[in-house]
Every structure is written in C-alpha cells, then in structure tokens.
C-alpha cells in the first residue's frame, strides 16, 4: 500500500470561539500517512485547537478537514477512529488497566479472546506486562502515561493524536518517554500528530514540525531545517538559541546583503528581505560564531566579554558586540580557548550565510 501524501488535510480552516478573535487562521496543512508531525508553539497559538478539531471535539468555523480523503467535519468523534492521548492521561480511574484498554475494543464489539491478544500486545509495547489488574491510581505518572499510549493504540487506529502527553512528567522520565514513543511510532508506522510547547521534544521526535504562532503555521519543515534555516524571526527565536541584530538593509547583491546597524555594518544572508532600505532582524545561532577565527570569514568584529558561565562541556560567554549586549557564544571547553576572561576584548567571526536577515517583527 502506497503511503497517502495528504492522509490528513486541513483546508482553509478557521476557528473562532467567540466570534471576535480567530484562534486558527486559514490553516493549510497536509500530513502524510505514517508521519510523525508535531505542532509546536507557545500557549494560545492555536495548536491544541487544531488537534481538537481533528479529534472532533471542536468544529471548524470555516473550511474542512479531510481524513483519508473524506471530509470529517460532520462525523462525531466516536466514529472517527482516531486514538488520542490526553494531557493528563484521562485514564478511567474506576477501571483497571485491563478495562481501560478493553474499553475501545468492547465498544467495537471485538470478541474477548481477540481483544485479550490486542491488550497483551499493546501492554508489551509499552513494557507494562503484568500491570493489567492495577488501578490507574496505583501507577506512577510515567506508567499512567504508557497506559494512555497503549490505550490510544490498542484498537489499531490509523491516526493517533497526542496532546502534550509528557507535560506532567519530570525531565528524565520525559526524555525516556520521548524515545519510547518515537520507537513505537517507528515500529508500528501509525500516523502521529503530536502537540507540545517543548521544542526539544519536538526536535527529537518528529519527522516534521509545524511551528504555530498567532493561529498560523509559521513554518512546516523537518527539525534540522527548522533549526538551521528558520524562515522568519519568530521561528528563529522560538527554536533554539539565537543572537539577533536589528538594522536596515543597505545593499542586496549576489545572494548577500549588507545590513547597517547603529554603528557598524554586517554581511548577511537575505532570506525575507528583498531591497535596500528595508528593516530587518539578523539571526545568528550561537554555535555558528567563532572566537578568534583562523579561517577567513566575511564578518569579523571585536566584542567585550561581559559574562562567563561554566556549563561543564562548554562555556557560555555573553559578549557586548556591535551594540548588542546579549550576544551569546558557546565555546567548547578545550585548551585552545583558555584565554576567555571577563572583560577581555576578543574577535568574533561568522560566515554571512549563517546570518539570516529575516523580517524585522
């Protein structure tokens, strides 16, 4: 069976709760079969609303959502056959783990022996064999989380939605669950739509990430592209760390542009600027700037070290550079970089293609 390219399709979807404010604006999104796609964004950006519309708990104010080529706006949630993992797990507290998993099978009238097999399989998938007779209250947060995942998969849905499922777990558990969910996704090939506001979660798990802000998808691309090549300054700032310079484009030529800052000029990569005179925000990842560069780089400037924070494997250095007192550098801890001292003047260099001139916003 060939993978369907637009297995889930949002077509011109608008959503408003009060008739005054649009929480989701003209959303276009195609999700292909078997994909792990993450909706990432700050709270209130509309990502959970999109998920709820897909699950059927909210109706789009305008536009249509297609699942497997069929419009689903008029289908009630229980007929959509979409598995869902809720933020606080939503395990049925009065049922055992077994009964929780049996619920979707019973309502589908699957015979008991077949259901038992499915439940066993689902429980072993999340390595919780032997927990079937426990009540959810007797499980730890991580175990409850796994039960919730198992329950969303036990009836073999084509699509599973996860609404910030790891939000309530502590850091270590969250990381191990990230891998676990990723492995489950890889092994059974189900399509997953995952909602989170945690960017590292999104980067580690997803095939593609849709960055939401202000009811719109700001960028939809693979994790590395999102990080390396943000298309606007919101994405650049939301994903990972970022150094910025605000300025005005003074020249665009040959795939490069010159940006005039308050008292200097830098060379950057024009992404969303077209012509001279435009305001812009230049974005540069901390690890792309080097101290005392040996290679030839087209941007080399002097800065003063304002703060040095030791992080073990690397040191973060805050530098006052070209009028930006918040310029951050990540310096690997090797013997070559031992001369980083507070108050020293150092040379900083970077390549112009790493400095992305984005919208000013």
């Amino acid at each position: 069976m060939s993978k369907q390219k637009d297995f889930v399709k949002f077509e011109n979807v608008d959503k408003s709760y009060d008739g005054k404010v649009l929480v989701v604006k003209n959303l276009q999104l195609d999700i292909s079969e078997g994909e792990f796609i993450t909706m990432l964004g700050p709270s209130g950006s509309g990502k959970t609303t999109c998920l709820m519309m897909l699950a059927g708990f909210e109706t789009p104010t305008n536009g249509e959502i297609y699942l497997g080529g069929k419009a689903i706006s008029s289908i009630p949630p229980h007929k959509r056959g979409i598995g869902m993992v809720f933020q606080n797990y939503a395990l049925f507290p009065h049922m055992t783990v077994y009964e929780n998993l049996a619920f979707p099978l019973r309502v589908r009238k699957i015979p008991k022996d077949e259901a038992d097999k499915k439940i066993d399989k689902a429980l072993s998938m999340v390595s919780l064999q032997g927990f079937a007779s426990r009540m959810p209250g007797q499980l730890s947060g991580g175990q409850q989380q796994r039960v919730a995942v198992a329950r969303s998969l036990v009836f073999d849905p084509q699509l599973v939605l996860m609404d910030e499922p790891l939000g309530a777990l502590d850091k270590n558990l969250r990381e191990s669950m990230q891998y676990e969910i990723k492995h489950i996704h890889e092994s059974i090939g189900v399509t997953v739509v995952y909602v989170t506001h945690d960017q590292s979660e999104a980067l580690t798990m997803s095939n593609r990430i849709a960055v939401f802000n202000d009811g719109k998808v700001q960028q939809l691309s693979s994790p590395d592209e999102l990080y390396e090549k943000p298309v606007n300054s919101f994405v650049a700032e939301f994903i990972g760390e970022n150094n910025t310079f605000n300025g005005e484009v003074s020249d665009v030529s040959g795939g490069k542009c010159k940006v005039k800052l308050a008292n200097a000029e830098i060379i950057a990569n024009p992404i969303s600027v077209k012509s001279k005179g435009e305001k812009t925000k230049v974005s540069l990842r901390p690890e792309r700037a080097l101290i005392n560069p040996k290679d030839k780089m087209d941007n080399i400037h002097n800065g003063k070290i304002e703060e040095v924070i030791y992080h073990g494997d690397h040191t973060r250095v805050r530098i006052n550079l070209l009028g930006n007192p918040e310029f951050i550098l990540k310096v690997p801890n090797s013997s070559a970089n031992l001369d980083i001292k507070l108050g020293n003047e150092i040379k900083i260099g970077w390549n112009s293609e790493d400095a992305r001139a984005l919208d000013p916003k």
């Binding site: 229980h78 979409i82 939503a90 395990l91 009065h94 969303s152 939605l161």
Partner: protein, 417 residues
C-alpha cells in the same frame, strides 16, 4: 548487641522514648482542650438526650412504684382465676395511699394504656373506697363494678409489674402482649403505625428518587457551565435553601391548593375542568412535591462537588476511543459520580424519613409520616415514652439503612464535598 544501642538517649541523658512522650504530651493536652468544649456540647445535646429517650421508652417504674404492695402480693398469683383476698387487700392499701396523694388519676391513665376501661372503674373505686369497711376487700371491690371482678383487668394490672417494658416498641409496630403473654398484632382495622411506617419509607424512597432525577442534570450543568453562569445557577439552587422552611412550605400551599395557581393554570389551558380540580394538597402528592423541592439542594450539592472533580477529558477520552456519547456517559461519567449519588441519596432519604413540618402542613391525613405521629404523642396524648420508643425505632431504622449502605456501596465511597 550491647544495651547502650538498645536504649537511645537524648543529649541530656533521658531515654528518647520518655523524652518524646513528654514533648508530645503538651500538644496532646492542648489538642484535647481544644475539642473539649465540642465534646462536652455533644454529650449534653446528643448522647444525654438520646440516652434519656432510650431510658424513657422502656421505663415503666411509675405503676410499679404506685402499687408496690399489690405487685408483691401478686407474685404468688398464677393469673388463671381471680386473685385471692390478699391481693385485693394489698391493692386497697396502695390505692388508699394514692387517693391521699391525689395520684389515682395518674394510675388510671397508665392502666388505661394497658387496657381500655380502667378510667371509669378507678373513678368509681375512689368514690366507693371511702365507705369501705375493714376486711374482705375482695367482695367490696368486686361490688364496685363488674370489671373489677373480671380476671382480665387484674392480668392487665399484673402486666405493669416489671420496672422495664418493651411494650411501647410493640405498640409502635401495632403489636401487643395478649392475655396468654404472646406477642400478637392488633386487629387489622386498628393498625395505624404499620401503615405510617410503610408510608414513611415509601415517601422517603420516592422523594429520594425524584430528587435524584432532578438533581443529576442540574448538578451536571453546574459543574460544566462556565463560571459566570454556574454561579448564577448555584444561587438559584441555594436561594430556597436560605429561605425559611415554613415559608417555602406555605408557598407550596398557595400553589397547590384547589383554588391555587397550579390548578388555575391547569384549568386555564383546559387540562382539567373547573369543577373537577384535582386535589394536589393534603394528600401524598402534596408531601411528594413539597418535600422533593425542599430536599433538592441536599442532592445537588454532593453531586456537584463530585462532578466538579471529574475531568472533562475523561468523557472526551471515552468518545475518542469509540464510545457513543451515551456509552461514554454510562461507562465513564456515571460510575465516577456514584460517590456523590450515594451521599446525596443517603442524605435525602434520612432527612425525608424524619421529615415533620412539611408533611404536617401539606400532607393532610394520607400524607403524614411517622414523625407527625411522634409529635402527636409528644404534644397531645403526652405519652412520651411511646413517642420516645417510636423515635428510637426511627433512629435504628436510619442506622440500619446506613449499615446496609455501607455493606453495599461502602461508606468510604461517600463524598459530601
């Protein structure tokens, strides 16, 4: 292990255990002193009156003390034939003493509880006894009235000999000890209490059911509506709660009477004919309607407090897993509200079973409950011991219901808020 490690000492050399007790003692005394007023209050207002009621309901010393010699003389009487002269003489002696103290009226009241007909013959005996000659009292007393020559009346007196009696309880169940000393039911047409007990249970049961049916959707709405609407609704639920019970009952009288608003409305829309207005008050209907409305908040509040804690995502999960809205409700939501249902039903049922004012005002003859009968004996017949006995029967009924509830649902599952 050496002995030093067994007994741990604090730095100043006192054994740790002693030291701990000493440190805790102050707190324990403080805590006790804090609750002591309440404990005292409970003993005075709860334990003591109930104990007194229990005592009163079985206490039968009055007659025993009024006729001490008679009962002493009766010890040898087998109760088959009329007693011997010895008993009559003793009775005469006791009776003269009572007449001197002007207490023979009380005796007649007491004996009349046991058997009807004592009142008049004691009055006659009092008058006649002034002219009695010494000796052969049996003949003289029997001559006063033919009932004094009836062995049944003497047996009735003998039954009052013990200091304690369970008769009032039997009477509460429409039973009595007959001449042969067996417990039997009274004739069918004289049974009033059993009907009342059954009616009390029936009305309490149906009021609970009606309350549940009405309160469940209200509580659900309260728990799911946005704050600004739910607050308003909550006030609507609580407003009657803050109004005097008497006022609410009176307003139901205005609504339900034959010329009342509800009847006018029915006539107005042509549901009933003007000359055939249904009676909705002074019968069971009145009790049902008014009690349901008055007890409704007691069902709404526990239900609401439980429903408030049920995450809406559970219903969503139920639906997303493929359950129809009904299945999601029935399998997920409803079982989670059972603690609230249990609390509400228990509360309403127990309150309804002892309800007094409302049935007294709108219940009429066919809508009154056992508590009205208790009040009747407290205020009108002044048979306090009987009222106490029925009160205790009611209390034990409630305890039985509580026990049953605990067996079936489990009292830990209850949630009042």
């Amino acid at each position: 292990m050496s002995s030093e490690t067994k007994q741990i000492l604090t730095t100043d050399g006192i054994p740790l255990e002693v030291s701990l007790k000493k440190a805790e003692r102050k707190n324990k005394i403080k805590a006790f002193l804090l609750v002591a007023p309440l404990l005292f209050f409970l003993i005075i207002t709860y334990v003591f009156p109930i104990g007194d009621m229990l005592f009163r309901s079985v206490d039968d010393k009055m007659v025993t003390q009024m006729l001490p010699k008679t009962f002493k003389a009766m010890e040898n009487w087998d109760g088959q034939e009329l007693p011997e002269e010895e008993v009559f003489a003793a009775f005469h002696e006791d009776f003269i003493k009572l007449v001197e103290d002007k207490r023979e009226g009380k005796l007649s009241t007491q004996l009349n509880y046991t058997k009807n007909g004592f009142k008049s013959i004691i009055k006659k005996l009092r008058r006649a006894s002034k002219k009695f000659e010494e000796g052969n009292y049996k003949e003289q007393i029997m001559a006063v009235h033919k009932r004094w020559a009836d062995v049944e009346y003497w047996r009735a007196i003998q039954r009052r000999a013990p200091e304690f009696t369970g008769q009032k309880y039997l009477k509460g169940m429409d039973m009595y000890v007959n001449e042969e000393g067996k417990i039997v039911s009274v004739e069918e047409d004289r049974r009033i209490h059993r009907v009342l007990w059954l009616r009390t249970l029936e009305i309490a049961f149906f009021v609970t059911v009606f309350c549940f049916l009405m309160a469940y959707p209200i509580a659900h709405l309260l728990a799911t509506l946005p704050m600004k609407y739910s607050n308003l609704l909550m006030i609507c639920v609580l407003l009657p709660f803050w109004t005097s019970l008497l006022v609410r009952t009176a307003s139901w009288m205005i609504l339900l009477q034959q010329q009342g608003i509800v009847n006018d409305f029915f006539v107005g829309i042509g549901l009933v004919a003007d000359d055939n207005r249904p009676e909705m008050m002074y019968n069971k209907t009145g009790s049902y309607v008014a009690m349901t409305q008055i007890l409704l908040p007691f069902m709404v509040l526990p239900l609401y407090s439980v429903m408030k804690t049920i995450s809406p995502s559970l219903m969503r999960a139920g639906k997303s897993l493929g359950g129809t809205p009904f299945i999601a409700f029935w399998k997920v939501y409803f079982p989670l509200t059972i603690p609230g249902i249990g609390a509400g039903c228990l509360l309403v049922f127990i309150l309804a079973i002892g309800y007094y004012i409302t049935p007294a005002l709108v219940g009429g003859a066919s809508g009154t409950l056992i508590s009205n009968q208790i009040a009747f004996h407290m205020k009108s017949t002044l048979d306090w011991s009987f009222a106490s006995a029925m009160g205790l029967m009611l209390l034990s009924g409630v305890l039985v219901i509580y026990w049953l509830y605990n067996k079936i649902v489990g009292i830990d599952n209850i949630k009042l808020g």
